[in-house]
Subunit: 311 residues, 2 copies
């Protein structure tokens, strides 16, 4: 499929429902809202599937486009949604068209347009929207800016390329309120989140001369901070911020005898190999595992396993 | 002056010394290193003035270009340096050419090339370097990326425009190691900094239904965190990160009866007007003042002054 094929398919059909993924983030909601908005501007009926987790994300972005009760769609388009297990709660398919950037896309949809080298799905939807509407109006630029900026952590993550930055430049030129959106997306935290970060950074554990850093996150800490799931976004990256940390882990208590571990490395240690020892796995620089141990026991075992690899 | 004039001036002269500003940041050092490097590539003798504060900043960026002992320059170029009081320690001028982006530039140099709408001086030096060298090699792209990314907080600050993002895109295309540089510049903090942030976020004071948030930073906190001046970069912005904060201040202890205040607002409260009441001032959204009071007394007085403006 080409972008032109995607746009043809959108022009041929009507009564669209746009599907975002479970645990929605800025890329899926921004891409979905932009696509929905562009279809409406092009004279189509189009709504977002009412992902029950929208309120945990950016309700101001999704709410204006959520399908009304009783809406009967005829064509489903999934955005930023890699595989069926990522369907939002209550949705079971089928999906007519999928627009995505995940290399792991399982081609569950009848047709799939995939650009696996793109940092965000928003960059792809931007091309669709431009061809569909002939131009980028400010509201579309705002929605797409959320998508592109979120998936790159405001252009700081390693997935950011020249193309990503050029797409963002074009969105700013089209009127995207990048200052306002950046404040909301990247420069605002809940009190609970800031308290949780305080507890994490004041209780880090150092091993191997400071090259290995662990954060233990207990249920007691979450309670004291008043933190819920949505305050824990990307906490796995926090201990890796310490100067000198080559390997870092967040050890999150499930209960007294169970914990979940997120391991991040700078590539010197293979995170996948370490996590495999405990029945987990993932990528070389980011992996995870579960242990039927207390957090303290898990920390000791994990530090030993990393020491073996370092030596 | 045009960029072509700037390049002509550089081609006409030799034995350059590049001047960076006091309390150097990534923009002045990155711009200076890139200009120096480009002049050397163009067959000129060129070095950075040995700003004694380089070691507090990014020594890996400045060290390769610092002038050797006894170097006798014939042409001084200042980068990102707005006025004479920003001269680095030990330097007293004169400056032959200044390349800058500060609207407040005082035109202290014999010739000045100023683009006050640019987010970073790096964006201007990039144009000079491209014309001087005919292309952007990877090492130049890395140096300029530091300049552009630092002055925009990795493209998150309100000064970021489409032009800034396009410049960054071009630098990435030219081979800038944005992932590695972003990790160093934006995703690494000293232990002392993280401890200090922990103390700040766990002791915030809320007023006016949470719309006003203060952080008190005492000398005792700095000692406990092991923090020095360089660990305090941009702490004035920290309390403003809390959800719902419209006005925020950092009240920094000087001694038991003296403190310095940095006030930030979202524009609802005029920070300049509030600080003027205490003999200070600045901008509408960011101002400062000193008080001959303890931090506790200052917090109470400042909260009252803000309350008057809110009502």
């Amino acid at each position: 499929m080409t972008i032109t094929d995607v746009v043809s398919r959108l022009r041929e059909h009507d009564d669209f429902i746009i599907i975002t993924h479970i645990r929605p983030d800025g890329d899926t909601v921004g891409s979905g809202a932009a696509l929905c908005n562009a279809l409406q501007k092009a004279g189509k009926r189009a709504y977002l599937y009412d992902n029950p987790q929208f309120p945990d994300c950016y309700p101001w972005l999704s709410d204006p486009f959520v399908a009304p009760q009783g809406y009967e769609p005829k064509f489903a388009v999934a955005v930023d949604l890699a595989e069926e297990k990522m369907f939002p709660k209550g949705f079971s398919g089928p999906v007519d068209l999928c627009i995505d950037h995940h290399p792991s896309n399982s081609h569950y949809a009848i047709e799939t347009y995939l650009e696996p080298d793109k940092a965000s799905c928003g960059e792809i939807v931007m091309k669709v929207v431009k061809e569909l509407c002939g131009k980028l109006e400010k509201d579309l630029a705002d929605q797409l800016y959320v998508a592109v900026a979120t998936d790159t952590g405001c252009f700081v993550y390693g997935n950011t390329t020249g193309d990503t930055l050029r797409a963002a430049a074009e969105l700013c030129d089209a009127g995207a309120s990048n200052t306002v959106l950046n404040k909301i997306l990247f420069r605002t935290s809940s009190k609970a989140r800031l308290l949780l970060e305080s507890m994490i950074f004041s209780s880090l554990r150092y091993y191997h001369g400071g090259k290995t850093v662990f954060a233990i996150v207990t249920n007691d800490m979450l309670t004291k901070a008043g933190a819920t799931e949505k305050d824990c976004n990307d906490i796995a990256s926090l201990p890796g911020r310490v100067e000198g940390a080559a390997t870092s882990a967040v050890i999150k208590e499930v209960d007294a005898n169970h914990c979940k571990i997120s391991l991040r490395t700078n590539g010197m240690v293979n995170a996948n190999a370490v996590c495999k020892k405990f029945g987990g796995g993932g990528h070389a620089m980011a992996s995870g595992c579960s242990m039927d141990k207390s957090c303290e026991e898990a920390a000791a075992m994990l530090a030993d396993a990393i020491a073996e690899v370092i030596e």
